[in-house]
């Protein structure tokens, strides 16, 4: 598979996320050991690493679901750890979080899932306008026919798409994808990768994509960082990252990547 062409619209002068010296431990196990990371406007940044290395913890800290033990996490100019609940909610409206297992609300239809954030955060919006927006994001993910279905009636790939549509409905500036291709067949993976790139172009988002799927990393990443032993050890384009002689990097490539 061809590596992605780097998005020419990335603004290297504008950091939307800036993390310095982030540490996080669970009991005695230190997951993140002083992580530094920048995400630039318009960029798709892929965070690679083996399972259990703290990739998901990192984006949960960015979205304020978890708190770091040390270090600073600055998102869109706001220090996440220092925000009051209302300020954190205001920031969260600018962040879209696509969960690994989609996290669609089981008891609601697709329409109700998409309406859920709208009725709470876009109260000024009329019913017709709301309906129009729902159809727009459903079309953007190619699933307008699923509007009245329940999540249990959808396939894994469709659930992922609806999950992404739900995050897009509030027009976020930042997208956080947690293992977007986990558990999907290769064809659906390619479709999801294309969707991530389309979202970047169409909605002008900056994204962090957490994955251990190298096909996904190559297809969507403008820049790739590799998390090893709680710190980012490699950074660059996909090819630059895997030019390393580091045995851990090479074993990750050899055992996981099918070209």
């Amino acid at each position: 598979m061809e590596a992605k062409e780097i998005n020419p619209n990335i603004d290297r002068n504008e950091k939307v996320i800036s993390i310095r010296g982030l540490k996080k431990a669970f009991d005695d196990f230190e997951v993140l050991k002083g992580v530094d990371l920048d995400l630039y406007k318009g960029e798709n940044l892929v965070v690679l690493g083996r399972s259990g290395t703290g990739k998901s913890v990192l984006i949960k800290i960015i979205s304020g679901l978890l708190y770091g033990d040390e270090g600073s996490v600055n998102v869109l100019g706001k220090e996440v750890g220092a925000l009051k609940p209302r300020e954190l909610d205001a920031l969260r409206l600018k962040i879209g979080f696509s969960f690994q297992n989609s996290a669609l609300y089981d008891s609601m239809t697709v329409r109700e899932n998409l309406e859920f954030p709208l009725v709470r955060h876009a109260k000024e919006m009329g019913e017709a306008e709301r309906e129009e927006l729902i159809l727009y994001v459903l079309e953007a993910v190619g699933l307008s026919q699923a509007i009245n279905q329940m999540p249990s009636e959808l396939s894994g790939g469709q659930r992922k798409r609806i999950g992404i549509a739900r995050t897009l409905i509030l027009k976020p500036e930042i997208m956080l994808y947690d293992e977007p291709t986990a558990g999907l067949d290769p064809i659906t993976c390619i479709e999801i990768n294309s969707l991530i790139n389309e979202v970047q172009q169409k909605f002008n988002t900056s994204s962090i994509i957490i994955t251990h799927d190298l096909t996904c990393a190559r297809a969507v990443g403008d820049r790739v960082v590799m998390l090893l032993d709680g710190q980012f050890q490699r950074e660059g384009t996909f090819d630059e990252v895997f030019e390393s002689n580091d045995e851990r990097v090479q074993s990750f490539y050899n055992y996981n990547f099918i070209d």
Binding site: F29, A90, R92, L93, F97, L104, Y105, D106, F116, P117
Partner: protein, 272 residues
């Protein structure tokens, strides 16, 4: 992770528990329960109010429990009347049956049976639903979309349960009395008006107030326990099962304790 477990090949580390491991866990659990309750009382007063969700939960808890509650209440009324008759008959006092049924059902059986059935049906459903939402990250999804999941899920369910259990209790009491009436009518040929005259003659205003207050407390307990267990369930499907199970067991245990305490208070008021 077990904090006190020494890593292989290292010298034993100092134990980190303030008291013992079990006591520490109990204290932490008590603190969490206190914080959970305090959060409810803090959040219940302030907007946004999730009226649609409250009404939906009222329907789930109230209307959907009606068939089970009706059947159980009716059978209890018949059985209780039937079982009480021989004892009264020994003293030639079967005419006191409506009064006995009235006192027993309104003061104790109605609220208690309703609460126990609701703990089984509603408590387990809330525990399992919220547990499953926690495990599948639906609660996290609400949080990152800047929606307060505590308000949407917990406050609405606890309010619905607190409102609906008293209503169900009234209904159970009425249906149980009807069951009792059918039995009394069949055996003693008592008319409906005489039966209900004796029923209301035997109870006081305090009985009705006590029964209502009790059922409000039971409803709050069922909702709160189910939400606490589900909302804080540990990861994994096993956690969902445990949340559902412990919601029922804990709620039933607390209902009996509350029944005992409230009974003492009411008796003290009655004596006063």
């Amino acid at each position: 992770m077990d904090l006190n477990k020494d890593k292989p090949g290292t010298a034993p580390t100092r134990r980190r528990y303030v008291t013992t491991r079990r006591l520490d866990r109990i204290f932490v659990e008590l603190a969490n329960i206190y914080r959970f309750n305090a959060r409810f009382f803090k959040e219940v007063w302030f907007p946004p109010y999730e009226f649609r969700e409250i009404i939906k939960q009222c329907y789930e808890i109230g209307v959907r429990s009606l068939p089970l509650i009706s059947l159980t209440g009716f059978i209890i009324g018949i059985v209780f009347t039937n079982q009480s008759r021989p004892s009264l008959a020994d003293f030639g006092a079967t005419s006191l049956l409506p009064a006995l049924i009235s006192v027993a059902i309104i003061r104790a059986i109605g609220p208690l049976v309703t609460a126990l059935i609701a703990a089984g049906r509603v408590g387990s459903a809330i525990g399992a639903e919220l547990g499953s939402m926690r495990v599948t990250e639906q609660i996290d999804a609400m949080e990152v979309s800047a929606t307060n999941p505590f308000k949407f899920l917990v406050v609405s369910r606890v309010l619905a349960s607190t409102l609906m259990i008293p209503a169900l209790t009234m209904f159970t009491t009425l249906v149980s009395l009807l069951g009792g009436y059918l039995n009394v009518h069949q055996n003693e040929l008592t008319s409906l008006s005489v039966f209900f005259y004796q029923v209301f003659d035997a109870i006081t205003f305090l009985d009705i107030i006590a029964s209502s207050v009790k059922s409000v407390i039971f409803g709050f307990t069922i909702g709160m326990v189910g939400c606490y267990k589900g909302y804080n369930s540990s990861k994994g499907t096993e956690g969902v099962g445990k949340a559902a199970n412990s919601s029922v067991v804990t709620a039933m245990f607390l209902i009996f304790i509350e029944e005992l305490l409230i009974m003492q208070v009411i008796n003290a008021i009655r004596a006063f």
